[in-house]
C-alpha cells in the first residue's frame, strides 16, 4: 500500500531539515557547551554562562533597536554570549556581564563607514584579559584526555564551516599555525609538540570556528580571507615569541580591523576608478 504524497510536501520537509545557515553556528556552539560541560565540567558555572548570554542578547536588543530601529537577529549575540561564557574564566560574576557588554557595544560604537571592525567576542575577551588580568583568564584546559572527543569537534566543526563556505579560512589558519610552529621551535629550541600543543585545546577550536570565520568581520574575497588567516597566524607567532599567553586573541584583535580597513580602502579606490571611468564614458558616449 502506498500513501499519496501531496505535491510540495517533500520540499517542505527539505526546508524543515535544511536549517537556515544562521542557526548552524549557534546550534554547534550550544552542542559544544553542553557536551563539554556534561562530560568534563568545562564551565565555571551555568549561572555565569547564562549571565553572559542574557547580557549579550539584552545589549543587542537594546542597541539594535536604538541604532537600527528594528529588532536584530539574535544568533550573533547568542554566539557572543556563549563564547564569553565558555572562554572567560573568572571567580566573579561581573566580568561575564562586562565582557558581553563590551563585546556587543563595540559593534555599535567602533564602526567605520557603517561596518564594525572587531569580532565582538574577540574584542570583549581581549579587552578583559588586558584590562582585568587580576580577575579573569581564558579557558586553558582540554576536553578531557580523550583524543576522540577532540576529533569529533574538529570534524563536526569542519562540516558546518564547510557548509557555510568558510572552511578555507580555518584550513589556512591551521596549516599556517602548524607551519609556524616549526619556525618557532627552530627559533626558541622548545619541543615541536609544545608549540603545536595549544591548537589541540578547546580554546583554539572556538577561536578557529567562531572568531576568525565571523562573516561580519572578515574580508569578502576568498583570497583575501586566506591572506588574513595567514596574517593572524603570523602575528600570533610574533606575539608567542614575546611569550604572550593570549596571543591568538590579540593577533585577531590587531589583524582583523586592519584587514577590513585595507579592504574598504581598496574598494573605495575601485569605486572611484569605476565612477571616473563611467563619467569619462558618459562624456565620450552620451
Amino acid at each position: 500500500m502506498t500513501t499519496s504524497v501531496p505535491p510540495g510536501n517533500g520540499a517542505q520537509w527539505k526546508r524543515v531539515l535544511s536549517l537556515d545557515n544562521r542557526f548552524m553556528p549557534p546550534l554547534f556552539i550550544t552542542l559544544i557547551l553542553l557536551a563539554g560541560n556534561v562530560s568534563f565540567g568545562i564551565l565555571e558555572s551555568y549561572q555565569k554562562t547564562l549571565l553572559a548570554i542574557v547580557t549579550s542578547i539584552a545589549a543587542e536588543l537594546v542597541l539594535g533597536h536604538i541604532f537600527l530601529h528594528k529588532w536584530p537577529h539574535l544568533a550573533s549575540a547568542y554566539i557572543t554570549g556563549i563564547s564569553v561564557g565558555i572562554l572567560l574564566r573568572s571567580p566573579f560574576f561581573w566580568p561575564y556581564a562586562l565582557c558581553s557588554l563590551l563585546a556587543i557595544t563595540s559593534k555599535y560604537v567602533l564602526r567605520f563607514k557603517g561596518k564594525h571592525l572587531w569580532n565582538p567576542s574577540n574584542f570583549g575577551i581581549s579587552a578583559m584579559v588586558f584590562l582585568a588580568a587580576e580577575s579573569v583568564a581564558t579557558l586553558s584546559i582540554q576536553w578531557g584526555n580523550n583524543l576522540g572527543a577532540m576529533l569529533v569537534i574538529w570534524l563536526l566543526g569542519s562540516v558546518i564551516i564547510w557548509r557555510l563556505r568558510r572552511f578555507h579560512i580555518c584550513a589556512v589558519y591551521v596549516i599556517s599555525f602548524v607551519a609556524l610552529a616549526f619556525l618557532r621551535t627552530w627559533i626558541t629550541g622548545d619541543p615541536l609538540l609544545s608549540e603545536i600543543s595549544p591548537i589541540t585545546g578547546p580554546e583554539y577550536q572556538l577561536f578557529i570556528f567562531f572568531m576568525i570565520t565571523d562573516p561580519k568581520t572578515t574580508v569578502r574575497s576568498m583570497k583575501g580571507q586566506c591572506l588574513v588567516a595567514f596574517a593572524v597566524a603570523a602575528v600570533e607567532m610574533l606575539l608567542r615569541l614575546d611569550q604572550s599567553v593570549y596571543a591568538p586573541f590579540y593577533a585577531l584583535f590587531i589583524v582583523g580591523p586592519i584587514a577590513l580597513l585595507i579592504e574598504m580602502w581598496l574598494n573605495s579606490r575601485h569605486s572611484t576608478v569605476n565612477a571616473a571611468g563611467s563619467f569619462d564614458k558618459g562624456l565620450v558616449h552620451p
Binding site: F67, L101, S140, I141, N145, L147, D190, P198
Partner: protein
Amino acid sequence: MKRVPIARIVVSIFFAGLLMTPIIVRRFSGREASAQTKLDTKAALANHGFYLTEVSHAAGIDFVHQGPTLDPKLASIMPEVASMGASVSIVDFDRDGWPDIYVTNSAEGSKNHLYRNMHDGTFKDVAEELGIADVNQPGTGVSMGAVWGDYDNDGYEDLYLIKWGRPELFHNDHGHGFTRVSEKAGLPPWINANTAVWFDYDGDGLLDLFVGGYYPEDVDLWHLKSTKMMPNSFEYADNGGRKYLFHNLGNGKFEEVSAKVGITSRRWALAASAADLRGTGHQDLFVANDYGVSELYLNDGKRFHEAGERTGVGFAPKSGMNVAFGDIFNKGQYAVYVSNISEDGVLIQGNNLWVPKDVTGGKGIQFDNLARDMGVELGGWSFGAQFGDLNNDGTLDLYLTNGYVSLDRKKSYWYDFTKISGGNSTIIGDAKNWPAMDGRSLSGYQQKHVWLNDGAGKFVDVAQAVGVTDTYDGRAVALADLWNRGVLDVVVANQRGPLLVYKNTVAPDERWVEFQLEGTKSNRSGIGAEVTLFWNGQEQIQQVSGGSGFSAQNDRRLHFGLGKTPRIDKAVIRWPSGKIQTLHDLTPDKLYKIKEAE
C-alpha cells in the same frame, strides 16, 4: 546611523565607562594596597588581637629544605617536577607534654630532623640519635611528608614516612628511639606518594593508614624507563599513582584493602584527610587531587562510596593541594578547604571552601563552595592551609601558604606552562614535550595569607599586618601550641627554603581552653575523636586528626579560642568507639587531659 547622533554619543560614553570598569573594580577591591602594610605589634594586637614573630633561629632551628634531583631526563623541568617534599608534622614523641616538630628533607642523602622541645623556648634536633634522620639514602627515594599515629596503642606515636620511594614505618620505642618495621608491617617496596592519613576507618580501635599515590608506583623517578610519566591531562588526569588503605591487623602487620573497600582511583592525589562529615560515627575520607576533581569517600564503617560529584565537591576539575576541616560558622559542622591555583591573568581556578548545605529529603550531604563569598578564594599557587583560632576570639581562622617555583624574579615560565597544559594527553603526558624552565619562576615569591574569621561570614587577610611577610615557596603548615601558652603558633615548611616558626602573641584578655585526648577502647592516639565545646551560647566542633593540610599534621591537642568573657557550658567528646563523654565545670585557660572512660 546618521539619524541617531545623540544616542551614538551616549553609547560611546557608556562604552568608555565599560572600558574603565576593571580599573574601578580593582581600586575598590583594595588588592592594590594589600602589600603596603608593615607590622606594628601594638596596632596588630589592637586591630586583630594577635601578631606573629618568626623565631626559628632563636629557637635553635636553622633547617633549610633541600629539594630532590631526579633523573637527568627531567633536567629541563626539574624545578617543577621536583617541587615538593618540604613537610612538617607536630608530635609529642616522648610524651613529655611539649610538642615536638618533625620536618622532612628531600635531596638524596639529606637528613630529616626531629626537633625535641626543650621546654625553654628552644628545640634540639634528635633525629639522628633516634634513628629517623638518614631516611633519604640513594636508591630508597626521598621524603615527602610524615604522619604520626600510635598504631600499636602502646602510648607512643609511631611514624609513617611518606616518600617518593620506599615507604617507611618506624615504631616509636617509648620515646627512646625508633625501629624500622616497614617490611614487617607489609608495606609495598615503592610508592610515589605525597599524602597519607592515619584513621580508624572500621572502628576496631586500631589505626589504619591511607596512602595516596601521586606518580605511578612503577615509576622510579631517579631511573626513568620513559619520559611518559607526566599527567595525561591538566584537569582530567587518571594515570597517577594507586591508592592504598592499610588495614591494621593488630599484630604489627597491615593488610592492603583499598580495592576491597571501594578505593580504586588513579588520580594524582596531593592531599587527604579524614573527618566524620555526616555525624555517622565513621570518618569519611576527602582526597584533593592535582590535575583533576576531588574525591569524597563516604565511609559506612566497612566500605567507602565515592561521592565527590554527587556531593558537589568533585565536579569542577582543578589542582587540589590541600584538605583541611574547620567549623568556621561555630555550627558543629565541618567546612573543607581545598587549595588550588590562581595566577592573575593566566589561570584563575580559585580555592574551594566547601560548606555543607542544609539538605532535607534524604539526599545525603551536599556542599556549596563559599570561598568567593567568604573571601578565601584567591591565594595564588596555594599549597598548605590549616584552620585554627589564631587570636583566640572564638572563631576559626585560616592560614594559607603558597608559591610554586621561585627562581628568576623577572622571568616567568607561565607562558610555556599554558602552552603545554592545554594540549592533548599524548603531548602533555610526555616530559620531553615540556619546554625547558631555564631558571624562570612559576608563581614564585608570593605573599602568604592569614585570613581572620570575622564570625559574620567573612575572612579578612591580615598576613602583612600581623607579621607574615615571607615569600618562600610554602608547602606545609602545621599549628601547635608549641610552648604551652594557650595560643596557636604556626610552623611553615618551605620548598628549598627555611623552616619558619611563627611564635604567636595574642591579646591577653582573649581566653582559651585545650584538650588532650587519649583513647582506651578507641585508638590510643584519639585520632577521630571529636570535641564539641559549648560556651556563651555557641558551639564549635574539632577533631583529632591523623594528618591534614598539605604534607602536614597539626598537634593532636585541640585548641579552642573563647573570646573575652567566656562561660563554658560543657564539652562533649565523641570517641571513635562511639562512646560519648560529657565534661562540665570547665574553666578557661587550661589544658584538660582526658582519657576515654572505660
